[in-house]
Symmetry: C2
Subunit: 250 residues, 2 copies
């Protein structure tokens, strides 16, 4: 009953509609949404109307829609993302106060690094990362620690490729990446000079569970030639604090 003749469920259509909204495309007409979601105009108008009625999308006086606060509320109030982020925020604030660059928290989601939080210093340099944005695991320092401490199955799946080039310095050779991951495990941190943007170096450490698996990655983005050792020290201390906070009863 909930399935269309083409076999996609209403849930699928809702997801396809939500996926058309991005950090740089926050307001759209129902027609635009239908076109971008690959839905017939009548279907798009009907499902968008249902979502507006339910409060998951908001319609403005011009008839354009955006993601509703109600959806944010329902998605956030009981989410694992919020618990990890709340456990990490005090430690991230301390890192940011000392390193004075972008400080970030990422977790593994569908074989990518999903950023849960980013604190930005007003004078900090370039940074492509956005909250609720993603980066490929092999291309970001956060991703490298999630990968290095994520278990062999994940590692082999990512090494099997494709390894997309984000900048000219992104490692795209599986053999070199395998050696990098061994080095990350040995050192306990990852340095990614220019992997994402040529002007920046990412530095990340894992936040681990009792079994040593990465739960999350804490990172900072430094100017390309800045020394990395002080940031590594701050991040290590922060990761221990987050591990303690996560181990405490909720």
């Amino acid at each position: 009953m909930a399935n269309s003749p083409s076999g996609d469920s209403v849930t699928d259509r809702i997801v396809r509609i939500l996926e058309t909204f991005t950090p740089t495309r926050t307001v759209q007409t129902a027609s635009d949404i239908g076109r971008r979601a690959g839905l017939p105009p009548s279907t798009a108008h009907r499902v968008v109307g249902d979502l507006v009625d339910a409060g998951l999308l908001d319609r403005d006086p011009e008839g354009r829609v955006r993601v509703g606060l109600r959806l944010w509320e329902l998605a956030t109030r009981s989410s694992h993302a919020l618990r990890v982020r709340q456990a990490a925020l005090p430690a991230m604030e301390r890192v940011q106060a000392r390193v004075r660059e972008h400080t970030q928290l990422a977790i593994l989601e569908q074989d990518e690094a999903l950023f849960l939080e980013r604190l930005s210093h007003p004078q900090a340099g370039a940074n492509i990362t956005r909250i609720a944005g993603r980066l490929p695991l092999h291309a970001a320092s956060s991703g490298l620690v999630l990968l290095a401490f994520g278990g062999p199955e994940l590692q082999e799946r990512i090494l099997a490729g494709p390894l997309r080039r984000v900048s000219p310095s992104t490692p795209t050779d599986p053999g070199a990446l395998r050696r990098t991951l061994a080095e990350v495990r040995r050192l306990g941190h990852a340095i990614a000079p220019g992997y994402i943007e040529e002007v920046s170096t990412g530095v990340a450490v894992p936040v681990r569970d009792r079994a040593g698996r990465a739960i999350a990655a804490l990172s900072v983005v430094l100017p390309r030639e800045a020394p990395t050792a002080p940031a590594v020290e701050e991040l290590r201390r922060a990761a221990r604090d987050v591990e303690t906070a996560l181990a405490a009863p909720a």
Copy 2:
């Protein structure tokens, strides 16, 4: 086609399912969800299965489900909540560093104060507020400024009641509340001693648009007998900074 015989759409059922998850109930079985959402077991299992397939809910090895990171990501990445919160966070951090108590950001949503952010000092006192949680407008200092600077239509709707008593000090008399709101407009801030919890006083200021309407409320929660003037000054300065940040191009 997307409607059941009882007339509720699949979207409605999805919302009812999501609404069963709360800050203190983050993991449930499909059967529990169906019971709490008022859905027949077969419907609950089918829609929960669709949501798991779409990644909006995650299922653990024991078969229990929780709100998925994918839903958080889709709800957050293009949301108005995130833009307001990002504009406010640096100013909130400054308030928190100086006042050293809970510092909060709320906006108006469906005639309630919805909290977008909360920074908590380790030594800060009691505080009922949660991120993505709500409080009644008349009972919280944040709500009072959203109400006082929210326009006459909103104010009359709330004054018409009911005005729920949250603590013995919550104002529930419409006449007294009307005088309080006039005072909040005159002073430019709200003080709510014991309205939510007897041991605490909320202090809030509005973040306003060019027309003077409240976009958001910045607040701190102080111990009941603490002086409020220093917090009001910090919050006022922060509100001006947030107004400037929100007026800047995105």
